[in-house]
C-alpha cells in the first residue's frame, strides 16, 4: 500500500508540463538514437548528459529526460534490425534473426508493430519489477558497512565482463585503468595531490563526463572515419512497411512468449554483468528451445521477434534496480545514468530512497509515462523513424561530434577539457580495436573515489586491520559471488560470446 502511495506521489511529480515534455523529447530522441546504427543507448545518453546538465535541469527532470532516452533506444534498436538486418544497437542483435525474414516476407509492418508491443510489455513488467524489488534490495543494502560496500564495488567490477566476456584479463585491465584515472587529483581524505604532475587543471580530478563523452561518442566518430562509412545503411534498399497492425491471432500466439521473456529479461537485467544484450540473447534462446517445435525460428516466426524485444526492454528496466538501490550499475548505460546522478551531487544507493524519494518515485512514474508514449510513437509513427534511417552518417557523425564538443564546453568552458576529451576519444578508439571493453573504464572513473573511501573508512575504523574487509558473513558472501562471477566466464565465456557474435557484423566494445 505504501508503494502505491509513493507511486502516486511520483506521478504528481512527473506530471508537470516540463517533465512530460522532457519525457516526450527523450522518447523521441532515444528512438532515433536506437534506430541509427552507430548510436546506441550508452553513447546516446552520454551525448545528452552535458546538455541536461548545462540546461540547468534539476535532478528529477534530467533523469526523466535521460531514462526516457534509455528506454527509447531500447525500442528504437529493433527498427533497423527488422528493416535492414543491421542491429541499431547491440541488444537488438537478436531481433534480426526473425525480424528481417519477416520483413522479407512482406510482413515488415507486422514485425515492427509486434516488436513494439513486445517492447512495451517487457518494459511495463520490468518497471513493476523495479518498484517491487528495489525497496527490498534497499533493506538489505542498509545493512552494509564500508567493508561490505568495498566488496560490492569489487563485485561490480569483477562481474562486469559478464558471462559474455571473452577475455577477463582485458576487463580487469579496463577496470584498473578506470580506477587509476579516478585517483588523479587531490586526495579527499588527506588533501595531498596525487598523479597531477603539477598540472593545475588536474587538481580537481578528471571530469568523468569528459571521459564518458570522449570514450563513447568521439571514438564512434573515429570508427566511422576509419571505415569511411559515410553513406546510410538504408541506401539502395527499399523499405516497404505495409500494414501497421498485427492480426489478433498473432498477438495471441505471442502473448505467452512475451510474458515469459519479460520475466527472464528482467532477471538478466538485475544480475550484475548481464545487461540488455544478454537479456535478449537468453530470451531468444530459451523461447527457441521451448516453443520452436516446427523449426520456424529464424525464418520469420513472430515469436522470435517478440522474445528478444520483450527480453531486452525488460532487462533495461531490471538494470535500473541495482543502479538505484545500491548505486552500483551493472551495464554500460546504467553506468552512464549513474554519472548523471553523481554530476548532480546525488548519491544513489539505499539512502536515495529515504533522502530523495521524489527523485526515485518521480523517475519511476516517468518510466510508466514514457513507456506509453513510446508505444504510441512506435506503432503509428514508426514510418517517421524509418525515414531517419536514410540520414547518411557523413552528415550524422559531424553533428554527433560537434554536439559532444558543445556539451563539454558548456559545462566547463575550458579548452583543456576538450583536449582531454579528444584524448579519451583516441584512447577509446584504440581500446575498441584491441577489444578492451570501455564500460569498466567508465565505471572505474565513476566509482573509484567511493570505492577507495569505503576501503579506507573500513580499515581506519578497525585501526588499520585489513582483515576487517572479510570478517562479516555479508562481505564474505559478496566476495564469494565476485570471485565466482570472475572465474565463471573463464570457463563458459568463449562459448556464449561466440554464439552471440555469430550474428554480429560490426565490432565495438560498447555494450548496452
Amino acid at each position: 500500500m505504501e508503494t502505491l502511495a509513493n507511486l502516486g506521489d511520483g506521478f504528481a511529480i512527473a506530471i508537470t508540463w516540463q517533465n512530460l515534455l522532457l519525457a516526450l523529447l527523450g522518447c523521441f530522441l532515444g528512438t532515433i538514437m536506437g534506430a541509427l546504427p552507430g548510436l546506441g543507448p550508452s553513447n546516446g545518453v552520454a551525448i545528452l548528459i552535458p546538455l541536461a546538465f548545462t540546461m540547468g535541469l534539476g535532478a528529477t527532470p534530467s533523469l526523466i529526460l535521460l531514462t526516457s532516452v534509455y528506454y527509447g533506444a531500447m525500442y528504437g534498436g529493433r527498427i533497423s534490425s527488422i528493416l535492414l538486418n543491421i542491429p541499431g544497437d547491440e541488444p537488438a542483435m537478436m531481433t534480426c534473426l526473425d525480424g528481417y525474414p519477416m520483413a522479407k516476407k512482406g510482413l515488415a509492418g507486422e514485425a515492427l508493430s509486434l516488436s513494439g508491443i513486445a517492447s512495451f510489455v517487457g518494459a511495463f513488467f520490468a518497471t513493476w519489477g523495479l518498484i517491487l524489488l528495489a525497496p527490498q534490495l534497499v533493506k538489505i543494502a542498509l545493512l552494509f558497512g564500508p567493508a561490505e560496500y568495498f566488496a560490492l564495488f569489487a563485485l561490480a567490477f569483477m562481474t562486469l565482463g559478464g558471462v559474455s566476456s571473452t577475455n577477463q584479463a582485458k576487463s580487469a585491465f579496463a577496470a584498473a585503468l578506470g580506477l587509476g584515472l579516478a585517483t588523479i587529483g587531490v586526495d579527499t581524505q588527506t588533501g595531498v595531490p596525487r598523479f597531477t604532475f603539477g598540472e593545475v587543471h588536474l587538481y580537481d580530478g578528471l571530469d568523468f563526463l569528459v571521459a564518458i563523452v570522449g570514450l563513447f561518442a568521439l571514438s564512434e566518430v573515429f570508427i566511422f572515419l576509419e571505415n569511411r562509412h559515410g553513406g546510410s545503411d538504408a541506401e539502395g534498399k527499399k523499405m516497404v512497411i505495409g500494414k501497421l497492425y498485427p492480426p489478433m491471432s498473432m498477438i495471441k500466439q505471442t502473448t505467452p512468449t512475451m510474458l515469459r521473456t519479460s520475466f527472464l529479461g528482467f532477471i538478466a537485467g538485475v544480475l550484475p554483468g548481464a545487461g540488455a544484450s544478454l537479456g535478449s540473447f537468453i530470451s531468444y534462446s530459451m523461447e527457441k528451445r521451448l516453443v520452436d517445435k516446427e523449426g520456424t525460428f529464424g525464418t520469420g516466426d513472430p515469436r522470435g521477434v517478440a522474445a528478444p524485444e520483450a527480453g531486452n526492454n525488460a532487462a533495461a528496466g531490471g538494470a535500473l534496480v541495482p543502479m538505484l538501490a545500491l548505486g552500483v550499475p551493472g551495464s554500460g548505460t546504467t553506468a552512464v545514468l549513474l554519472a548523471v546522478l553523481l554530476a548532480l551531487n546525488i548519491t544513489p544507493g539505499p539512502l536515495l530512497f529515504t533522502q530523495n524519494p521524489d527523485v526515485v518515485w518521480g523517475l519511476i512514474a516517468a518510466l510508466f509515462i514514457a513507456n506509453f508514449m513510446l508505444l504510441a510513437m512506435n506503432i503509428p509513427m514508426v514510418g517517421l523513424f524509418t525515414r531517419v534511417l536514410m540520414i547518411p552518417s557523413r552528415i550524422l557523425m559531424p553533428i554527433v561530434a560537434m554536439v559532444s564538443f558543445v556539451g563539454i564546453y558548456g559545462i566547463s568552458g575550458s579548452t583543456f577539457d576538450l583536449l582531454v576529451m579528444i584524448g579519451f576519444g583516441v584512447m577509446g578508439w584504440g581500446l575498441r580495436k584491441l577489444d578492451v571493453p570501455l564500460v569498466p573504464i567508465i565505471l572505474g572513473t565513476l566509482l573509484g573515489n567511493a570505492m577507495e573511501n569505503n576501503l579506507r573508512r573500513a580499515v581506519t575504523i578497525d585501526n588499520g586491520d585489513w582483515w576487517t574487509l572479510i570478517d562479516s558473513p555479508l562481505s564474505l558472501g559478496l566476495w564469494a559471488v565476485a570471485i565466482i562471477g570472475f572465474i565463471l566466464p573463464l570457463i563458459f565465456g568463449a562459448r556464449v560470446k561466440a554464439k552471440m557474435r555469430q550474428r554480429r557484423d560490426e565490432e565495438g566494445a560498447i555494450s548496452d
Binding site: 546538455l51 540546461m55 571473452t166 577475455n167 584479463a169 582485458k170 580487469a172 585491465f173 577496470a175 584498473a176 580506477l179 587509476g180 585517483t183 586526495d187 581524505q189 588527506t190 588533501g191 595531498v192 596525487r194 598523479f195 568521439l218 566518430v221 566511422f224 572515419l225 576509419e226 571505415n227 569511411r228 562509412h229 559515410g230 553513406g231 552518417s393 557523413r394 552528415i395 559531424p398 553533428i399 561530434a401 560537434m402 554536439v403 564538443f405 558543445v406 564546453y409 558548456g410 568552458g413 579548452t415 576538450l418 583536449l419 579528444i422 576519444g425 583516441v426 578508439w429 580495436k433 584491441l434 577489444d435 570505492m451 577507495e452 576501503l455 579506507r456 580499515v459 581506519t460 565490432e507
Partner: protein
Amino acid sequence: MSDRIFGVFGILLSIGYVFAALAIEESFLSDAVGPKAFPLIIAAILGLSSLAIVLRPDAEPQWPTLGRLAEIAAAVVVMILYAEMLPVAGFVIATAFAAAYLAWRLGSSALESVFVGVGTSVGIYVIFHLVLGLSLARGPFGF
C-alpha cells in the same frame, strides 16, 4: 602481436603508476591507510592483467591501412585545432569549419560539406544558445 605490445605497454604503465604512487607526499594528518595504498593495489591489478594479456593474446585485430590511420590522425589534429581556436574564432565559425571537415572526410561532396558545416553550426547555435540559453564560446563578432 598487437596484444603483446599492448600488454607490455600496460606493464610499463603500471610500473610508472607505482613510481608515481610512491612519490605521493604523505600528509602528517593521515588515516590508517594513507593515500598510497589504493593506487598500489590498482597498479598490481593493472600489472597482472597486462601480464595475462601478454601471455595469452587474442587474435590479431584488423588494423586500418596507413592511409586510414593518417585519416584519423588528421581528424584528431583538426579537433585539437578546433578546441584551441574555439575561444579565438568563436563558436559558429570554428564549428562550421570542423563539421565541414568531418563531413568532407566521411565522403560528402565539397558543396554538401559546406552545407553540413554551416547547417550544423548554425543549427546548434540556434537551438542551444538562442533557445536553451547555453553559453557558447564568443568570437570577435559576438557569436
